[in-house]
Amino acid sequence: MAASGSSENQTINIMRSQEPNDDVSLSLKNEGEGSSEDRPEVETGGDWQRLAVISILYFTIRNFTNMAQGLIYAVPALAISFNIWDNLFSPQVLIGAGVLFLSTSGSGVISYLMYKFRVHNQHVEIHHGVFQRRYTNLPLWRIQNVKIERPFYYRPFGYALVVLDTAGSGKEEAKIVAVPESYAEALKKQVLYEKVQHIGDDVTGKSDEEMGDKDSSTQHSAKIDTAAASALTNEEVLNRRSVKDIIIHGITNNRVWIILGAAAPFYDDVFGVVSEWLANKGLQLNQIVGEQTVAWWQFGLYAFVVLMMIMALVALLSVGGALFTFYGYTLSRTGDRYIRRSGLLNKLEVSMRASRIQMITAKQDWLDKVLKRVNLYFEQNSTAGQQMQELMSPNKLIVPSVTEDEAFALSQEVMPGCDLRGQHYQTISRRFIRFWLLAAWTTPLIGIFVVGAVTSHLDIMIGAVSTFIIVTLLLTLRWWRWGIAYDNKYVYIRRGRVGVDYQCFEPYKAQQVIVKQSIFMKKRKLATIKFVLASGAVTVPFLPEEYVNKLADSVLYEVEATRKSWM
């Protein structure tokens, strides 16, 4: 899919950058001869390579999880039709299970045998898939993200999994399933190097080519050599997260889903057991309450204790989940890239080009506010339809639970001169509250209230009134938080209800600007502005019309006059 879709682009790219590429690969090879130990050769030559044998384990595990997920839906049907639980250990069932087990294990070997890859002429090429054969061809210079994963069973043997991701939308990513760690590092460096070289190409390469002067082009590549080399060697750690920070992160953010997600295949069983248990308990509770053996306050106390225990358990699970993903977190920078490394069992490495960061988001929940912590996100373009797990995703580089000062320093690092808190925010109009109350909440709540009044149910009436008050309160908070600021360099947005989120982006990265205005808003000289960025859209409603027009004009001017690339 990827190959056919982008073949045209590739040929153009090859033509554009063939000469310098040759130079570079030559010089690389020379280097490699001199010191082959520190940097293994990335190019595998024209021959197709097999993966390391350990990849069979990876394929087997992957196929087993796939099968387990598939079976979850099949098990109830099978259980009903064959009455499987009555003769669980009958020969038929055992044979069936055995065949399934063996075929799945065997499929790992087959997947291994069907997988070939090579890195040749600055292209990564992969043949994979058992029934549906796939061919992926990625030019190194088009790779935007390099993710290196080290599952725990790879680590004793020093292997790694490399995920290469392009700027293209959708599933245009390639996985090299098992290569030695040193090779993975070398490949990453080569991609980074290729990137630097390619950018250099765009800036200065053309004039050199036009002169047709061989010397200047070699000089040029030498210059880039040194630039790339310096970029490669200086890896600077910007931020580390200690275990304490990660525990705080686990408490303030619900990371239960990481563990619940991993346990997904066992949900059916767990739900069955729990519902049975609840049924038993529920029966007993009913009896207890019915017989009036326990005073109501005692019952309330029980409920409270149970609730507390559940919450403690959830917090514990969440801390576990946070440790699982963020253990040993470091954020570092080499050249124009940010690299995030973390993970307890599965070591993950995500790198992102600085220029591809579209937006900084600093999120602070109410608990974060109490503890003075901030979750910082560097958002890259989000490819539609690719719903990745937020924390693992290379599209959002998260720095979990940093202190407010660290958040300030990090945002300054990514967007120099960006001050999220120091802005004078243009707040939105109070009509925002009125609009939402009238448009969405008043009618149904009045309806409910009337129903309560007619049927003389006081609780329904109180419920409707209190819902109305809570909604009004939340809308007021939202109105109070929501604001926008522009300091001629960045656009800032503040929003939230109890917690606060700050967002900051460079106006020239906007993809589209939308101004909305209802006829009622027009009368009041108000308007809503929406910026579409590659990472998603941001909206600020009910701003003064004049402000919106000026801001929209300025942002459009910034895009069209600076002509800077958004990537």
Binding site: A384, Q511, Q512, Q517, I519, D553, Y557, E560
Partner: protein, 184 residues
């Protein structure tokens, strides 16, 4: 391509006062084809007729008997379809003549909406690719819609509906010929 433009134009970066920044409030908005409204109303009528036809067919067929409840509901269902269709037609009647577009050197804009007026502006520099789309009814009426894709995602595809085919082609050519396309 990029260097060509760099060589053609002398680089300038003069200070501009706020008044000199072009304002999209002064856009000269052009209405889309008048046929678009007629076509929409026609197709709504077609859909409503088809639905009513199916229901009527079911109501009066002789192959199997329907429960009495459904027979009683028949006039209400037809009335419901007519009502929804009527509201829909009314919306298009008033909204479709309020769709405008405008082209500037550097961007392309569209204004639309009946109660919530929406003005979206797509800088041509950010265009990834362009499509001219024609459904069967569009082809019959000689209309086309222009779709402009940016990196903002599918949800924010910039679309101008109800253009005459020649105008849509012309706009596409304009965008493709724009010197910024391909410079990213």
């Amino acid at each position: 391509m990029k260097t060509d433009t760099q060589q053609e134009t002398v680089f300038s970066n003069n200070q501009l006062s706020v008044d000199e920044i072009p304002s999209f409030k002064t856009l000269a908005l052009v209405p889309i084809s008048k046929k678009y409204r007629a076509l929409n109303i026609f197709s709504i009528g077609l859909i409503a007729l088809a639905l009513i036809g199916i229901i009527t067919g079911l109501r009066f067929q002789r192959f199997w008997s329907l429960p009495d409840n459904l027979l009683l509901a028949y006039p209400y269902v037809v009335a419901g379809i007519v009502a929804i269709g009527g509201v829909w037609v009314l919306y298009h009647f008033f909204a479709d003549v309020r769709i405008f577009y405008a082209i500037r050197e550097q961007d392309i804009s569209k204004q639309s909406g009946l109660i919530f007026r929406k003005l979206s502006c797509q800088p041509i520099l950010r265009v990834q690719h362009v499509e001219v789309n024609r459904g069967p009814l569009d082809r019959w009426a000689g209309l086309a819609s222009l779709q402009v894709f940016s990196a903002g995602g599918e949800m924010y595809t910039f679309e101008i509906p109800g253009l005459s085919l020649s105008r849509a082609e012309q706009l596409r050519e304009f965008i493709l010929a724009h010197k910024d396309i391909g410079a990213r």
